[in-house]
Symmetry: C2
């Protein structure tokens, strides 16, 4: 489908005070970003919000209206600060109840006499949601309409993503080419690169400097859903970089 | 000012396709989160948006209306995909022009005959903005009204943050106590912790499980702007954890 690539979009919503306070570094959104790129889903936005119901509701409703899928992480454990399931139910205007399917999953790991009130909280699921299996600690995630609700603990989030991914719609993959411009300064190739970006409108071109103690290294990244223009743009960019290198070669 | 703590809020807006595509892991927002906590600014939201002008404009306008400060990272280099300055000007409805102060800064590092069109782009600053010094590569950031526009390269972003931070309003610091609950399962203390959270409304309590190959370790984090209730809550939580540990001790 040249020029008519099917695009499936997504957003990630990270829920958790501990990320905003700087206590914990969120690695889940990066993991999900790579994962979605690999399966052909375009991640378009990431948001991090605190453990505050109104904030979660507002973000879920803004994102689910705009993107094909919304992936949330965090806030589905047994403690009082785990309010994601309730917030999702409120965002959809549906009830939330203890789900017998979720209780059955919890009982695979927890003895019946230890299934106390707090642990039963993890089986409270918005009405109409499908459960997402958690092979590690058993407390399930869930999917309601286009919103996929996962744990914040990375190992568990990852296993939930593996469980739900095969059921999702995916689009054509974005093809990527990365070209090392090494020490050729961005400021020397910026104008030519802009001209190439105009010449190859099907290819998105980005330039990324990396500063380190060894100096600056630049990378030019080309992205497209179409192989032929991508290959042509790559040749053109490689030619530009080679020319600039030889221009600056001594003697 | 007991019970009337001065709160200064902020949001971080990360601008960059490379984060959303999963090619680069954003470490800037975590760095800024810790930095702001240290100086007494409450980070309330993080967003990551692509290099698309309308997306940047919409996010800047949503966030600047809502929080005292907005910190942006990324998109202020010399290449065609660096569109943050233009997007900020559009968000504020002001013009954007080459700024002689910024040109002077660039000339500290770039020879006049090498200050080409692309590099001059880095001196285009929205009208009314104050510049933020960049001691590393000289191309400045800027602050316009409550929006602080910084580079995406971590070393440069960090030096800009150091430059602007002393000029910002700050609130009372949030005091933090972290209590190791070790292997006491969350599901065993969740109900008591919820009761303590109600008993100490000035203290926000979070429970954070960490799963590893060694098993689960839980940490309870208490946060407050008031020292006395925080100390009392800490004692109460420590007592709860000790009691639960002895309840589960063998024999």
């Amino acid at each position: 489908m040249t020029g008519e690539a099917q695009v499936v979009t997504a957003a990630v919503l990270v829920i958790g005070d501990e990320i905003l306070s700087g206590r914990t570094q969120d690695g889940n959104s990066h993991y999900i970003a790579k994962y979605l790129a690999d399966i052909g889903i375009d991640l378009r936005e990431i948001r991090v919000v605190p453990d505050v119901e109104e904030e979660i509701v507002a973000a879920v409703n803004a994102l689910r209206a705009r993107y094909r899928y919304v992936f949330t992480t965090g806030g589905i454990g047994p403690t009082h600060d785990d309010i994601t399931a309730d917030a999702i139910a409120r965002a959809f205007g549906v009830g939330i109840e203890e789900d017998p399917r979720a209780i059955a999953m919890l009982l695979e790991r927890i003895r019946p006499d230890q299934l106390n009130e707090a642990r039963r909280r993890m089986a409270r699921i918005p009405l109409g949601a499908e459960l997402i299996e958690n092979t590690i600690s058993k407390a399930p995630g869930f999917m309601i309409d286009n919103v996929i609700v996962m744990a914040g603990v990375p190992m568990i989030m990852q296993c939930m993503l593996d469980a739900i991914a095969p059921t999702l719609a995916t689009g054509e993959h974005v093809l990527v080419e990365a070209i090392e411009a090494d020490s050729v300064p961005e400021g020397r190739y910026a104008k030519q690169l802009a001209a190439l970006a105009e010449a190859y409108p099907q290819v998105s071109m980005g330039s990324y400097p990396h500063f380190s103690s060894q100096g600056v290294r630049n990378q030019i990244v080309l992205r497209s859903r179409e192989a032929a223009p991508l290959a042509a743009a790559k040749e053109a960019v490689l030619g530009m970089v080679a020319q600039l290198r030889s221009d600056s070669a001594p003697g």
